[in-house]
């Protein structure tokens, strides 16, 4: 039976647990940091020495930790790209711009256990020779910013931050920077531009890979809140032990934000891949099933930009059989293990691990219109396909949602969406705004066509009737 596994949220919801440093220390806080700072250089068989920093980085590699922000990129690998020979300072930025619709996991950590994040960050900074770090927090989270600023002051007072941390000679300063309310600031290079005081226009890659030319053109690491918290646990329990959590290549735990039409929406921490989508929705320990009398219609499995899954969809998943051979196993969408790789094989992604459940009361056209409105509003407008395409799709969908659809609108929408993603844009927003359209219209085409046909028939009647003449909304 699937279980919650509370690693990061171990204490957060315990009665009486408060975000202040004394409470955190009572629960074993900053022990991971002390352990990290006490690591001694290790002799290697070839006579070379491995520095404490290298040992931590190696441990993070061994742990198999993958980024919890959305792309699921290996954290150890990301750290290994950092240009350590440039002579320039290395910066670390915590990406706390959690704004993917449906996602509310990082907020729990920052509100309830801010010191866990700070400890994870200090260890990560130590491991990467960082002396200045930022927490870039979403503009719409003023409370989180207040809590973090207070927590940083507490940590500074206890000499977990500042000069000569705990007498080790290691200096680190850390600041909270509040965004001004733009989704694109969650894109790491957009975030960096914003932190530099500019419009958050994502940078072109090449040449501006943050690991080489990041903040102020210096090597920069940008990690998600949950990812950085995991670093603390990797140091405490050891990378190899961390890797035993979850499933191979999908190690550790993830906090799943479950929303939509389930009985128990909320956040649940699980071992990655140890629960299926169906279990997360229906198990009484998690979502508790749909409302009575309702049937499942669709699931957005990883934040609103991930491709939608339709109830009853089947996928061929690669699995190893008893003799270790790779075989394809037909799997219902509800039986997909909730991890990075299975969802990728199903053509979607676990993204920011935010599941949005839709039952049969949902109008698919209106749902997509709602999503597309968000993306049209949040496109930064720097590069052409996303700037123009996101608003175009939204206008078409709003038109459909307001009874002005056309039978051909399904194809019209997909043709627009197809011109946006796949490397045509500077950042992944192109994918984020077009994948929902491609997948919703692709999987529920009959509903889009039916709506368009019905609208056309109704309008034909209205025009035939004497009196008022209506036009396509917004047509010129």
């Amino acid at each position: 039976m699937p279980q919650e596994y509370k690693l990061i949220l171990k204490h957060a919801d315990e009665p009486g647990y408060t975000p202040d440093i004394d409470c955190y220390l009572r629960h074993g806080g900053y022990e991971g940091l002390k352990k990290a700072l006490a690591i001694q250089p290790k002799d290697l068989p070839d006579g070379k020495k491995m520095s404490p920093q290298e040992q931590i980085r190696e441990d993070v590699k061994v742990s198999g930790l993958r980024g919890r922000g959305g792309a699921g990129f290996s954290c150890g690998l990301k750290w290994s790209f950092v240009d350590r020979r440039s002579g320039k300072p290395i910066y670390l930025i915590c990406n706390a711009d959690e704004s993917e619709p449906g996602t509310f996991k990082d907020r729990q950590i920052m509100h309830k256990d801010p010191h866990q994040l700070i400890e994870g960050m200090i260890i990560s900074c130590f491991a990467n020779d960082v002396h200045l770090a930022y927490i870039y927090i979403r503009g719409e989270m003023p409370e989180g910013a207040k809590i973090l600023i207070k927590a940083l002051a507490e940590a500074r007072a206890k000499n977990f931050l500042g000069k000569n941390i705990l007498g080790t000679g290691y200096d680190l300063e850390m600041y909270v920077h509040r965004g001004a309310g733009a989704y694109i600031c969650g894109e790491e290079t957009g975030l960096i531009e914003s932190l530099e005081g500019k419009r958050p226009y994502p940078r072109i890659k090449p040449p501006y890979f943050p690991a080489v030319l990041g903040l102020w053109m210096c090597p920069t690491i940008v990690n998600n809140v949950e990812t950085l918290c995991n670093v603390k646990h990797i140091v405490e329990m050891g990378g190899a032990n961390f890797a035993k959590l979850g499933t191979p290549n999908n190690t550790g735990t993830r906090i799943v934000s479950l929303s939509g039409q389930v009985k128990r929406p909320g956040y649940y921490e699980i071992e990655v891949g140890k629960a299926t989508l169906g279990e997360l929705i229906n198990d009484p320990k998690f979502g508790g099933g749909l409302r009575d009398g309702r049937k499942l219609k669709a699931i957005i499995p990883g934040g609103s930009s991930s491709k939608v899954l339709k109830a009853g969809e089947k996928f061929k998943l690669k699995k190893k059989d008893a003799e270790g051979r790779e075989v394809l196993v037909e799997t219902d969408m509800l039986d997909l293990p909730y991890d990075f790789d299975s969802l990728a094989q199903a053509g979607t992604m676990s993204g920011s691990s935010a599941i949005i459940v839709m039952d049969d009361s949902v109008d698919i056209v209106e749902t997509l219109a709602n999503l597309s409105e968000f993306y049209a509003h949040e496109s930064c407008g720097q590069c052409t396909p996303c700037r123009e395409g996101a608003l175009w799709m939204n206008k078409a969908l709003q038109r459909m949602a307001h009874g002005q659809g056309r039978a051909g609108d399904a194809d019209y929408l997909v043709k627009i969406a197809d011109n946006i993603p796949g490397g045509r844009t500077i950042c992944a927003f192109g994918e984020a705004c077009s994948w929902p359209v491609q997948s919703f219209v692709g999987k529920f085409k009959d509903e889009f066509v039916a709506k368009g046909v019905a609208d056309e028939a109704r309008r034909a009647k209205e025009v035939a009737a004497p009196g008022e003449i209506k036009q396509l909304a917004g047509a010129h």
């Binding site: 590069c383 052409t384 206008k395 078409a396 045509r424 917004g474 010129h476």
Partner: protein, 567 residues
């Protein structure tokens, strides 16, 4: 002063390694490093390699002299690199050629560096489809008002529509409406609906002009170019943004609604507003000038020019132009119209009769090298004292020179003036006052502002003045010879750095006005007996053969961008 002419001196650069890439199946060798927008050597980009391969990559935001933005997405190309096996060695095809691993994602040619063995595909169906998509996106909210747009005819949206456009739009939604006729600054009008947000103007004014005044406000499809709130876009280089705007968003208040560009004749010329000598194109139609636009010359002005110089052309069509040859008999008050034949022969006779040492020549450093050369011939023959007049003003760090004469160095090289320009003027004034100087020849200057006032001029036996516009000096002259503006003749200038550059004739001079070198040739022949060349080519080459400062130059050898001589 050295006597050797050189092309623009190049620093001895170390040989740059070449690498082989393929563009649309054709293998070419390109330098591994090429200059970026600042001139610094950086890894060669795909778009530079394609340019060397003579393959056009369509683009809006990319400009070789601006930082790369990569936002228009028009230059997307497909590409592949040699496949590497598990041993990190290239995988070979059965025929021994390197196997190419094609990238699953396209790349923007403007920002992606090339690597050895790379294959760039600029012409595949997928590339065409991507560009069609980008162009469609750019046009959905565009007003499509080409019939009333000044950019029509030189608009990149129009050009690429030929290759990547669709005949009909499938867009049925309402367009985004943005501000029209925005008064961005004293010389610039902005139509935000035409703007494709390439940010060339933003980058130009921030990174080239050093005036970070433009930016983008709002978000997404509502993005709008604007000047910093409450301020005007007003520096001396704003009109360059009109040139680099690939569409009709930024228009010049001076040029907008004046003329359809396809009617304009373009003539290679120079700006004569200061000693920099920016290369320009003169756009004219039916003997009327409509605009200057900068002509790229990396040895002088790059692709830019200043606003002041660009707008300094209207005087050519001034009401105050001298159009007639005029003569005033000694002792008479009024000038009467005469003919070139009469005037030149009378002046020739006069000059031939004057005793050596009784003539002074004041020739403007706005005259051409050739004209100053001919005046120097007269000077030698007549034993005349000569000089030019200094005109100075504010300089800036980019292009504007403090020397407001376009050809001070030409005057120096020809011996009309000296290192210290204008140092002989007091001597000339004194000579007139003392009665030593009886004849004064003035070309292109109003000497009444230079300490030689009407009282002194009245003492002269003969005052011969050639100018373009009527001045107090021409009004007092015994002979007025109407000259031609530089856009009305051919010739060459030598700029402050010694760049000798030639300019072509764009329009005809009005009335009886003639290029000065033409009648100077006749005058020199009559007075000195030297029968020089009667073409500008021959005259320049003769000057180069005789004047040490121009040694080794030929008119043809100047090319479009000139040659630098040592000053």
């Amino acid at each position: 002063m050295s006597t050797t002419a050189t092309t623009e001196p190049k620093p001895a650069a170390p040989a740059i390694e070449k690498i082989k890439v393929k563009v649309d199946g054709r293998e070419i060798e390109v330098p591994k490093l090429m200059p970026d927008w600042t001139g610094k050597l950086t890894p060669t980009t795909m778009i530079q390699a394609c340019e060397l391969a003579k393959t056009d990559v369509p683009h809006y935001c990319y400009h070789p002299k601006l930082p790369i933005a990569g936002n228009c997405r028009m230059c997307l190309v497909e590409f592949g690199t040699p496949a590497l096996g598990p041993d990190r060695k290239p995988v070979l095809n059965p025929d021994g050629s390197a196997k190419i691993a094609k990238s699953p994602r396209p790349a923007i040619a403007c920002a992606t560096p090339i690597s050895p063995g790379m294959e760039i595909y600029n012409n595949t169906p997928a590339v065409k489809q991507m560009r069609e998509g980008v162009l469609e996106f750019l046009l959905i909210n565009h007003p499509l008002d080409c019939p009333i747009c000044d950019q029509a005819g030189e608009c990149k949206l129009q050009e690429y529509s030929v290759d990547y456009g669709q005949s009909a739009s499938r867009f049925v939604e309402a367009k985004v409406h943005k501000p029209k006729a925005v008064d961005l600054g004293p010389r610039i009008m902005l139509d935000d609906e035409r703007c494709i947000l390439c940010t060339r103007c933003v980058r130009f004014t921030r990174d080239i002009a050093g005036d970070d005044k433009l930016g983008i406000v709002n978000r997404g499809s509502y993005n709008t170019i604007a000047a910093y709130p409450g301020t005007q876009f007003d520096n001396n280089y704003t009109l360059n943004t009109v040139d680099i705007c690939p569409v009709g968003a930024l228009t010049s208040k001076d040029f907008r609604f004046q003329m359809r560009v396809w009617f304009l004749k373009e003539t290679k010329s120079l700006c004569n507003s200061c000693g920099t000598g920016c290369n320009v194109l003169v756009s004219s139609r039916e003997e009327k000038m409509y605009r200057y636009t900068p002509r790229e010359n990396d040895a002088v002005n790059g692709p830019w020019m200043c606003d002041a110089g660009r707008l300094n052309y209207k005087w050519v069509h001034s009401e105050n132009r001298l159009k007639d040859v005029l003569k005033r008999a000694v002792g008479q008050g009024t000038q009467v119209k005469t003919t070139w034949l009469t005037a030149i022969s009378e002046i020739s006779d006069l000059l031939k009769r004057t005793p050596v040492g009784s003539v002074a020549i004041i020739a403007s450093a706005k005259q051409t090298n050739e004209e100053l050369y001919l005046l120097a011939k007269l000077k030698t023959k007549l034993g005349a004292v000569s000089d030019s007049v200094e005109h100075t003003g504010a300089a800036d760090r980019l292009l504007v020179s403090a020397d407001k004469n376009p050809n001070t160095n030409g005057a120096r090289l020809n011996g009309i003036c000296f290192t210290e320009i204008g140092s002989n003027l007091p001597q000339i004034a004194q000579g007139i006052a003392s009665g030593k100087i009886k004849t004064l020849v003035v070309f292109g200057e109003d000497v009444t502002t230079q300490g030689i006032g009407p009282d002194l001029l009245a003492k002269l036996d003969t005052l011969i003045v050639s100018d373009i516009l009527s001045t107090p000096t021409t009004q007092l002259a015994h002979y007025v010879l109407p000259g031609a503006a530089h856009v009305e003749k051919r010739g060459s200038f030598t700029n402050t750095k010694g760049r000798v550059q030639k300019f072509m004739k764009a329009i005809e001079a009005p009335g009886d006005a003639r290029p000065e070198w033409e009648f100077l040739h006749d005058l020199v022949l009559n007075v000195t007996g030297l029968n020089g060349y009667v073409t500008i080519e021959g005259l320049f080459n003769q000057m180069a053969a005789e004047v040490p400062g121009f040694a080794g130059l030929t008119w043809a050898g100047l090319g479009d961008t000139g040659v630098t001589v040592t000053i």
